[in-house]
Amino acid sequence: MPQISPVLWQFLVKWLTNFALFPPEASRIAPQLDALYFFIVLVSLIGLTIVILLVTSFSILYSKKRHPVPVQIEGSTLLEATWTIVPLGLFLVMFVWGALIYFRVFTPPANAMNIYVVGKQWMWKAEHPGGQHEINSLHVPAGRAIQLTLISQDVFHSFSIPAFRVKREAIPGRYTTVWFEATTPGTYHLFCSQYCGTEHSHMIGDVVVMSPEDYKTWLASSTSGASLAQNGERLFASMSCNACHNARPDARGPSLANVYGAKLTLTSGQTVTVDEAYLRQAILNPSQNITQGYAPIMPTYQGQISEEGLIALIEYIKNLNSDYRVQQTTTTTTLLPGGAGKAAPAKQEPAGQGMVQQ
């Protein structure tokens, strides 16, 4: 193409090679969602074609030249009923189909691997259970159900991965969840899609889907030393949670071993299932979430603990599977730094048997 200026040519080439018309399908849910998408596209096209056909054919057949005298028609109940009921039926099909997919996207399977994501102006911070954390990127293994537990530190954000057809808002003050199972290794866009202030359009990143082996390598290479649960354990001790939640017979707070997933009866008579949301509430607003049989003496930790800290604590509590583990934590307290000088650990047993491993 000698006649086109080389600059323009290069520009065109670059422009068109980057051109995309449909996002990649890189998760298990994507083809399902796309099926519904194309179904609605099809229905829309048929509807649009019918409208266009009607309008153009009538315009031609009954233009004033061909058809100078109009014939007055009042209407037709049968026809009107048809185009009430047929669209209604189609819409109801879409509703049911859509609702099935919606519930699938927002109901994580029990064995999903949980990654916490904190949104803040203007970055995404992902916290892996192994203690790896990353900013504006998310590494996940292919072929494994990943649950994201999202929260925002300030305003509404929205965690959007178009290639996975998955999106969920991160709201301040509450966990939301979404899950996906990536199928194809590769790098995909990660967007914040809820307008969140000045740098909204820079709150983007990459989702890197890796084969399970690569993922293992990545995990090993980006570890920060302690797992999320271990960080939580430190916090648990430094904030003196173990002063009450120490699993001893005379403990002032309920034992937290195996509490995750259990059904609790609260003093208000409500029954709740302990999940991340409940644990978060119980730490920040304890008085409204007192387990039956215990005095409402737990102070609130609102403003004293960051969202990341909460995540670590919750991860720790989730992994507590025996009273022995709690007592191990209790005894390790004195070995740990005083935790920003807050409330010296009360009534500690003398230091015990050394660090808890794992």
Binding site: L284, N285, S287, Q288, P296, M298, P299, T300
Partner: protein
């Protein structure tokens, strides 16, 4: 009537066109005008219902979420003052009714008297409201940066809380009292604002009533204002138990 013309009906209605001086040009008859005005006023009140409806929705949600905080915070209000205010407002509603009645009977003196009485009752109501607000400000119960939880985490320090027999609230619950007071000030503030607007109109009406504006058969304005004033009363009828009387036993 011929089957196909847009003919005017001047002949039919000629008798009706005596043109009352109060008949606006766009109406055909006084009845049409009165009907339209009345309907318009009700529609306006409908928008007011929705306006306060938003606040009541917020109230409903948070009262369910933060009931203990709402109880303790509500105990800070004086049932006595609130009750007096209720009676005052109901009384002003009565005087307003009597004002409308006087206008309809074309009694100028009693119309002015009742309008002024209504105005006065409104002033007293707002005065008492002001006293209540002042107390809240002094105790730092006005939401915002200076909000104080003292009365709720340590009720012993607060005679009002002691009188109500309040127990100390844990900090996290006590913090929610701010939501209550946000709503308290938003709701009573919006109500007071409506009263202030109403009292401005009352003054205007008193002024105009002196020159016989409403006592020569054209009472519509007084009647419509009466509707507005009663509506403000209705809002208070709901605000009083919802804000002042939460779990008083």
């Amino acid at each position: 009537m011929s089957d196909s013309t847009v003919i005017a009906h001047d002949g039919l209605e000629a008798g009706h066109h005596e043109h009352s001086p109060h008949l606006h040009h766009q109406f055909e008859s006084v009845e049409q005008q009165a009907d339209a005005g009345n309907f318009a006023m009700w529609l306006f009140l409908l928008t007011e219902v929705m306006f306060f409806g938003g606040l009541f929705t917020v109230y409903m949600i948070y009262r369910n979420w933060y009931y203990p905080a709402f109880v303790a915070a509500s105990h800070q209000l004086s049932v006595k003052l609130g009750g007096i205010n209720s009676v005052l407002l109901i009384t002003s509603s009565l005087t307003m009714t009597l004002g409308v009645w006087s206008a309809q009977l074309r009694r100028k003196g009693s119309l002015i008297f009742f309008l002024m009485l209504t105005f006065l009752l409104g002033v007293v109501f707002l005065g008492i409201k002001g006293v209540e607000y002042k107390e809240k400000f002094e105790k730092h119960h006005f939401p915002g940066a200076n909000y104080s939880l003292q009365s709720f985490v340590n009720p012993a320090s607060d005679p009002v809380a002691v009188a109500a027999g309040d127990k100390p609230l844990p900090l996290d619950i006590a913090q929610r009292t701010e939501v209550y007071f946000s709503l308290y000030f938003a709701m009573t503030g919006m109500h007071a604002l409506h009263m202030i607007v109403g009292m401005g109109i009352l003054l205007f009406m008193i002024f105009r009533a002196r020159s016989d504006a409403y006592t020569t058969g054209h009472t519509a304005f007084v009647e419509y204002f009466g509707l507005y004033w009663h509506f403000v009363d209705i809002i208070w009828i709901f605000l009083f138990p919802l804000l002042y009387l939460i779990n008083r036993h």
